[in-house]
């Protein structure tokens, strides 16, 4: 959905004026919001039989008082199958949202979504991490995850402006490297808890070398091969090259900025056998939106 319906400018335009949010859980959860309870009461009603079944994601449109005005399955089902083609998904969502806007007595959508507003930090400093997997068989993985990682000065203690080329344990980059893993890879999910495995540790040696100065800023290049192990406990790992530029201002001990890239591969085993798929990430340091 992040890479299909919700990524379409026309859909963003149709949702102009709406506040978007998401909720996840199971039917037996004790704290089901009333809106979810209402949708699922109808979705899972025994008599409700729709050709092609139903997906596990629904969209509920609520008015300003929180009342469910209408809801729809996130995917259209026709002739016994789910419609996954991007243009058909967009047409379906536009039809559903047009009906929702009418029900809410909103004017027809005319705009397409405009400015991208990424997650930000409300206080302190940190790193924004984008990560994505390039699997031709699953285009959804190509939609980047976006994680905001608050950091403290002590997380950067090892990263001081070098006078000469030096070596750093890649584990020092764990606060931000740990978010480099793909979304929704089913085979890397704990079958008991249903939670995906996350990154347990990072191994490797990084080189940090001076890279000049400019306008009062000191530059250094951080490079090296890293191996990321997940929490699956079976030795599963994937590898890649980290390339990043750090800067320091006015002789500060903590880097003023980080801009970097991870380029690696992620192994997946399926009917086609084992494949090494491109795994990518980008890192950019952040300062708080508002100083506290």
């Amino acid at each position: 959905m992040r890479g299909s319906a919700l990524a379409r400018p026309a859909v963003a335009g149709a949702l102009a004026g709406f506040i978007l949010t998401a909720w996840h859980g199971h039917r037996d959860d004790s704290d089901l919001p009333p809106q979810v309870r209402e949708v699922w009461a109808e979705k899972f009603a025994p008599r409700r039989a729709r050709g092609g079944g139903q997906s596990n994601v629904d969209v509920a449109i609520l008015d300003a008082s929180g009342k469910v005005v209408r809801w729809f399955d996130s995917l259209e089902h026709t002739a016994g199958r789910m419609e996954l083609r991007g243009d058909r998904v967009e047409q379906y969502w536009m039809r559903m949202l047009s009906e929702a806007r009418t029900a809410l007595e909103l004017p027809a959508a005319t705009a397409t979504g405009t400015t991208v507003r990424l997650p930000v930090l409300q206080q302190g400093a940190g790193v924004r991490v984008f990560a994505w997997l390039e699997d031709p068989g699953m285009p959804a993985y190509a939609a980047p995850t976006v994680e905001i990682v608050p950091t403290k000065d002590e997380d950067w203690r090892v990263f001081t402006a070098p006078e000469n080329a030096t070596k750093i344990d890649a584990a020092a980059a764990m606060p931000w490297l740990q978010h480099v893993y793909p979304a929704g890879v089913m085979e890397r999910t704990d079958q008991r808890t249903k939670y995906p495995f996350t990154i347990a540790r990072v191994e490797g040696e990084l080189g940090l070398e001076p890279a000049g100065t400019k306008d009062g800023e000191t530059f250094a290049l951080l490079t090296g091969k890293v191996t990321l192990f997940d929490t699956g406990g079976d030795g599963f790992c994937f590898r890649g090259d980290l390339t990043a530029v750090l800067t320091w201002r006015n002789g500060g001990a903590v880097p003023a900025s980080l801009r970097g890239v991870f380029e690696g591969t992620y192994p997946r085993t399926g009917p086609q056998g084992r494949r090494e798929l491109p795994m990518r990430a980008a890192f950019e340091s952040l300062a708080a939106v508002q100083a506290k």
């Binding site: 709406f18 995850t145 978010h179």
Partner: protein, 83 residues
């Protein structure tokens, strides 16, 4: 002649620093080529609120409707994408 020789030596001294900065520039170019573009981040064109509770609070205060994505799953963070 002596001045030309001094200038030549100063230029030689400057070359290593310029080469190091070029390496940093290449790394920054790689970052700018790799970082997702607005087209890749289309879902962030919308007004997101990470939790339903906060979305309902704002909805009432601002008199705006809510689009609630309900995911039938134990785990999922649609906003960050790790789901």
């Amino acid at each position: 002649m002596r001045l030309a020789f001094v200038c030549f030596c100063l230029c030689l001294a400057a070359i290593p620093a310029a080469a190091q900065s070029a390496a940093a520039q290449r790394a920054l170019d790689l970052f700018h080529r790799t970082r997702p573009t607005d087209d890749d981040l289309g879902m962030y064109r919308m007004d997101w609120e990470p939790t339903l509770a906060k979305a309902l609070e704002r909805s009432k205060a601002e008199q705006r409707p809510v689009c609630l994505v309900i995911i039938h799953a134990k785990y999922g963070d649609l906003y960050s994408g790790h789901c």
